[in-house]
Amino acid sequence: MLDFEVFSQQLITGLSNGMIIALIAIGYTMVYGIIELINFAHGDVFMLGAFLALTLLGALGMEAWGPSGQVFGVALMLIGSAVFCGGLNWSLDRLAYRALRKSSKLSLLVSAIGCSFVCMNLGLFWGGAPMKVFANGNSAAAPKNFPAIIPQINLLGDGFLRITPADLLVFTVTIPLMVGLTFMVKRTRLGRAMRAVAQDPTAASLMGIPVDRVIGATFFIGGALGGFASVIYSLYNNTIGFQMGTRAGLDAFTAAVLGGIGSLPGAVLGGLTIGCVRSMSDQYLETRWTNTIVFCILVLILIFRPNGLLGSTRREKV
């Protein structure tokens, strides 16, 4: 096999992983853009989405469905998890964040951390559900296998280079979502309202924009993207666990910051960058240093571009 093949394989892996990170990162970046909150609970909402997907899969017995039925099943999980995560994220905003809009950003942050713990614990309980897919609830804390209903076979035959249906799934779901989201933010009334609230909530409310509803909608959309991501993540990695939200959230947050927090294309670029850096570092350096390298690159980029790759310099009015 050629070295080039190894490189391309790592690039494909990196891009797939990066796309998933980017999808979670968008949820962070949207919420941050509008109320400047690092939504720590986002990763855990994402985790619960994956649990819902597995529950659906188990309850409906999707493993037994034929290939075309499973495509339908994937669509069902995507929609189910998106609605669920969106709703959950919206409720978190309604219950835990809205009352703190006027207080300091740090109180809001602690509230988000609290939500993160609560969601994580709910995931632990969920993992103990007496279902076959959860190993009959025998060990709630153990990681759960997510059946590979999108098979991990090589579409390119027997060569070294592998592209699996799961890789394709990542791209076919993620790219339209991102395009659609960009369109929504740029073109629709809700998108304009969101940008207005992000710029200046007071002015926006004076202009008759229902600020709380717009923020709620942002949480819903951010959460829904997390829900999509959770299904794709599960189908790609085939393992879920109640603590996976922390790490996924951390990666996504890093991606959001790397790209310039608040910027949608930035989050995507950041996610892809991190995915590729990880792959390349795994291949050409040592795996144990991968995290360190990712963060060193983050610091380096921020030294030279303090607002991230695509972040705008926000000029403070003086």
Binding site: A96, L100, G114, F117, G128, T254
Partner: protein, 338 residues
């Protein structure tokens, strides 16, 4: 002016008297050892309070400095390394080492805006753990460094059984930290920190050297955290493993500062008591009691008391900031009275 005891004084006085309570309590209910943990986190959170509370810089990687402190204490004292310093010199050295680490991280990144800095500190926390894990040769990797010395007073070295000695040592060092932080708070430097937190542009325009002032805050916090790290390594006689100083510790310290009252020393002390107390006293004793009385069941995830800890901790955080958005003891606005 008539002197009235402030909240800090009252809290510290109560803490000083706590061992008396232990004498009358049954062994299972004794609190000193757990409260020592509260003191440790209080020291850590006082450090974080300097950078996040006073200077307004969100730091999500304070545990990394604790790890640096613990590991440098370990390397400087343990008999498997050639340095073999005693307890006091090594503990004193953790302070400049921590400050230096804070400087290394702070110098290139302090130009960053709020949340960009937060992610860098978070990343630093991860890097430090990784480095400590990966540099086997130096740090013994995940193995941990042990045994570590305890202070010696009157000939023999303390052991873990000398609970009250440790208790008062921690107490004394906490009081020392409180005074140090308070002295800084009520000085030119503290004022500059507050001004940066309030309005960076205005304080810059008043000639405050923002980067330098932030850097001092950063290094001070790092030094205090490293000090706390050294102390905890000493009492455990082991550095533990690198992942004992992970993100969760930083988060706990942050919660202490914010739930207690950002920028308020008394708030931090109360916050440490509430948060750590909930975690390592109330929840621990409650689950132990339930287990001892055969309450709950391991078979069902919902009936196992241990499985509720995250939930209770999380709800406590949400409720605390909901009910007291400015903290349990918010700082007094006028700092001028001295």
């Amino acid at each position: 002016m008539r002197w009235r005891p402030g909240p800090i004084f009252i809290i510290l006085a109560l803490a000083a008297l706590l061992p008396l309570l232990d004498v009358v309590l049954p062994p299972k209910m004794q609190l000193c050892e757990a409260v020592r943990g509260v003191f440790l986190y209080a020291i850590l959170a006082l450090g974080l309070n300097v950078v996040t509370g006073y200077a307004g810089l969100l730091n999500l990687g304070i545990a990394a400095f604790m790890a640096i402190g613990a590991y440098s204490f370990g390397i400087l004292t343990c008999e498997i390394y050639p340095f073999q310093l005693g307890f006091w010199p090594a503990l004193a050295l953790t302070i400049p080492i921590g400050a230096f680490a804070g400087f290394i991280l702070g110098a290139p990144t302090l130009g960053l805006r709020g949340d960009y800095l937060a992610i860098v500190t978070l990343g630093f926390g991860e890097i430090v753990q990784d480095v400590l894990k990966n540099l086997d040769v130096v740090t013994k990797g995940t193995q941990g460094i042990n045994p570590l010395p305890a202070p010696t007073f009157g000939g023999s070295e303390w052991t873990a059984e000398d609970e009250y000695k440790w208790y008062y040592l921690f107490f004394a060092l906490l009081v020392l930290t409180v005074f140090a932080v308070r002295n800084l708070e009520r000085s030119r430097l503290g004022r500059a920190w507050f001004s940066i937190r309030e309005d960076e542009i205005a304080s810059r325009s008043m000639g405050i050297r923002v980067e330098r002032t932030k850097l001092i805050a950063f290094a001070t916090a790092a030094a205090i955290a490293a000090f706390a790290g050294g102390l905890s390594a000493s009492v455990l006689s082991s550095t533990g493993e690198p992942s004992n100083y992970d993100f969760q510790i930083s988060i706990l310290a942050l919660c202490i500062v914010i739930v207690g009252g950002i920028g308020s020393i008394a708030g931090v002390l109360v916050g440490a008591l509430v948060m750590v107390g909930l975690n390592s006293i109330v929840l621990v004793k409650a689950t132990a009691w339930m287990a001892a009385n055969g309450i709950g069941s391991q078979g069902n995830v919902l009936l196992s008391p241990n499985n509720w800890k995250f939930l209770i901790f999380g709800l406590a955080l949400i409720l605390a900031v909901r009910l007291k958005p400015n903290g349990l003891i918010p700082p007094r606005i006028e700092r001028a009275k001295q």
